[in-house]
Subunit: 373 residues, 3 copies
């Protein structure tokens, strides 16, 4: 029997696997009838310990269009977790009720803990500010469909680059393709973190950092907008001063290339003016459709209903012990948002990620621990 | 391709269309097997920004009995609107996940805003105190089935006639049939508004206004009960003095005709005594069954799965700009419950409804604006 | 036409019926394909007036695996009961939308009230601290599968035996089998109530009462663990002193028989250490799977889709008036958690249960009333 495959982080998938998912999604769009009963008698559980309409409905629509059915909950209030049940217990029980699970949880690393005990594939539909791999797959499919390629692109990332997990994941994913250049557009408070820049440098990718959207826009093939939250600024004055410069409107869009595409993970509040919606370059609603198609492909793949692509390293999240040699259980994770801070009897585990500098990272939340020498 | 049809208000439908829906509902009751797979591979989204069990379950049961499937949310807490997403964005995204949408929203005019951007049919399942057209269709089907006709009827409307949207809609609908007489039964505080009486007069319908249920009941073919809420009264004493006179019990029912029918939009609290439930004239639970049948017919109609009836004017709500000549965008809607007061970048729009008196009405909530001359 | 059958209490079912359900559940496990379309075009409503993930998802998975579909609500907040609708009205309306109803309600006796007016079978999925018969069926199926029998067993009940409805129901059920011995393991504050011991004595069952889990464990065939809630103790000190003695860990498990089975109704908080999960005697996650199978069997039985077993006395809850001779409606139920304290116009009813001592019990909540002589 095959090992159970999970999707916790976008890097669980090889480039070959991502390409297979994109191809499958394209085939689904072209031939929907071919797929509409392939998941008959299969069940998807959507376990949303915190609400997210779009993501949940996207998964549910995906499973229904494959002929399967859906059960689950849409917020923790209607779940047993209010009675103190651990995430692992909930997931293990639901493994008796469903063939595949999509879960969203406010705690970082929760799906990694969950995947330790499950008997069915787990899809991470967002774990706090940590990972959200199906959003990244959605972004990649949209880019692939609209630009015809995933390499040789200039990608503008605009808004909150400090806390925005979607842009971090997108960088991780796109660094695996050739000749992708990044333009980082954000206020000073919300700059891209150094460790992400380190990754870009390590991969040999070109990047520049600018404060203004206007100066950056003419060069871009892709403009990826994100929401800027007021509470992330040092002062209300600073927010007021800056907020309009990160709002995309038809005026700011004028100098852009005619085939540039505008993406946004949604929901948008006011960072893209409604007037932009009618511009052919606005692709953020089309993204929602791509999100359904790629989730259909992913469900098929994890249920072994399409042929495997080149030996994925994936499923990683589920078995942190695989490389036991470099794991330590004597370090306590200090991140208050980590699943280890609430889950009963969950062993803290760190792996060595930078031997020279003595850096260990929590296997659940990637929280850093530096070993004093 | 056909224009997308929506149902925002009961007046979106022609009499021919209503008759077709009633005929279809009757055929569904007579031949359920004929319909039980007609919506296979179709999806209904039930988007309830505020809770309403009966209405939501009625829609869901309707779609399931047609062989379709259902997804959605049952309160705004589990939706992205808590993150500040506009109704139009939510609807537009869900248009990628479902073939038809039934939405309930606390703000008046919300489905009209939603219908501007959607690519699938929208059914208004209630927008605040404004419209609730599938309730009216339910009432019409129940009357048609129990009385065999929709004309030549004496209709008693009892309870809160001032704020009760269901009775206003029922009046709108029944004025289109011949020889319908209304008996308006309510306390002084909760009398039928003048503008509804104006409509009855304009249509040449007879109506009388009484304070007591007992005096009115012997003449009625239909008694339509509604709930009286304590907080609608000027004083608690007044409420206490009057409340019992609007409670239907077996005693008050005695002088009624033997074929009178008692309707109620439900939920009932105590305005109809439980002892009345066993009376053959009590049709309010049967109404719930009719609600399912008429919603099945409506879904079929809007999905173009039954032949069109005589060229409906419908879909109105979706395109307020159609009669641009008489629209104005320089008036600001003063109704705090109107969708324009919360939806981002939604243009306020008024149409001229009474040229002589200079009356304009908001295209979303029908709020009145009188032009000073 | 057959009388509608409901399941309110485990004693509604005869031993023959329970055996039939167990056989059917075993056949479902062995031949799932045989059952996967038997409920096509049937609908289950899950009406959860208070949340319970596992129970709800277990019912939903059961119906989906039978080829049926599901609708409902997962907490009262999204139901019309917030508008003051009675349970009977909600159930009666939903009877138009579904073929069978599983309901959970915080008030004792609510499903008995509901069953008075429904036209479809009602399954009690828990009514406050009162009954939870599908949990008991789940326990019986698990025991039957793991031990091969339901008689000649030594059953340890551990934890909160005073308030734990699952252990009371399990005792009721197992007293109907031969030679079942009980070992009651609890702190003094949470001892098994006298009336349950009376039942054991009346049935001629052997029982002993101990305070420590360690001394009891070597003799047991079954160890049924329950949660001990801090707030049930007289003092925080007493709780602290005792809590660890009722936590099952690998150390305490050592002297147990190698074929003893550990059950728990779940959710567990910390009363069973996570390290026990890997022990082959730990059967509480397997219980969740059994719960799905027995609910599938029950749905089939109540929908008349499998042959009837020996003339059940069941359906009892639905018609409290059947033995009108011994019913009294002049006693008012004093239990504040009884459905009679909130439901509109619901007649209080008591039946004589002990003529000698003049004891009457509420037909809804079983609350006691002693007649002064």
């Amino acid at each position: 029997m095959d090992k159970i495959r999970n999707l916790i982080n976008i890097t669980d998938l090889t480039v070959e696997e991502i390409n297979l998912l994109i191809e499958t999604a394209d085939d689904i769009e072209a031939n929907p009838e071919k797929y509409r009963d392939v998941c008959a008698h299969k069940k998807l559980a959507t376990l949303f310990f915190e609400p997210s309409t779009r993501t949940r409905l996207s998964f549910e629509a995906a499973m229904l269009e494959l002929g399967g059915s859906v059960l689950g909950f849409s917020d923790a209030g209607s779940s047993s977790s209010t009675k103190g049940e651990s995430v692992r217990d909930t997931i293990r029980i639901v493994g008796n009720y469903a063939d595949i699970i999509a879960m969203r949880h406010p705690r970082e690393g929760a799906p990694i803990a969950a995947a330790q005990k499950t008997v069915v594939p787990i899809i991470n539909a967002g774990d706090g500010g940590h990972f959200h791999p199906t959003q990244t797959l959605t972004d990649l499919l949209t880019i692939s469909r609209k630009k015809g390629r995933l390499d040789d692109l200039t990608v503008g990332l605009c808004g909150d680059l400090k806390f925005g997990r979607t842009v971090h994941s997108l960088v991780d994913a796109m660094l695996r393709y050739e000749n992708v250049r990044f333009v980082l557009i954000s206020p000073d408070e919300l700059k891209m973190p150094e460790y992400v820049k380190d990754k870009m440098n390590a991969a040999g990718a070109k990047w520049t950092e600018v404060e203004g959207l206007e100066e950056a826009i003419p060069d871009l093939d892709i403009l990826y907008m994100t929401r800027i939250q007021k509470e992330r600024f040092d002062s209300a004055e600073e927010y007021e001063r800056l907020k309009d410069s990160y709002v995309l409107d038809t005026e700011k869009l004028k100098p852009a290339k005619s085939d540039m595409i505008v993406l946004h993970p949604l929901p948008r509040v006011n960072e893209i003016s409604v007037e932009v919606d009618d511009d052919p370059r606005a692709c953020y609603f089309y993204q929602a459709l791509c999100g359904k198609h790629i989730r259909m492909a992913l469900i098929l793949y994890l249920l072994n209903l399409i042929p495997k692509a080149g030996a994925g390293s994936a499923s990683g999240g589920g078995s942190p012990e695989t490389n036991a040699a470099v794991l330590r259980d004597d370090i306590c994770c200090a991140n208050p948002k980590c699943i280890t801070s609430t889950e009963q009897e969950l062993k803290h585990l760190f792996r060595l990620t930078d031997e020279k500098r003595g850096i260990y990272r929590c296997v659940y939340c990637d929280g850093e621990h530096v070993e004093e020498k």
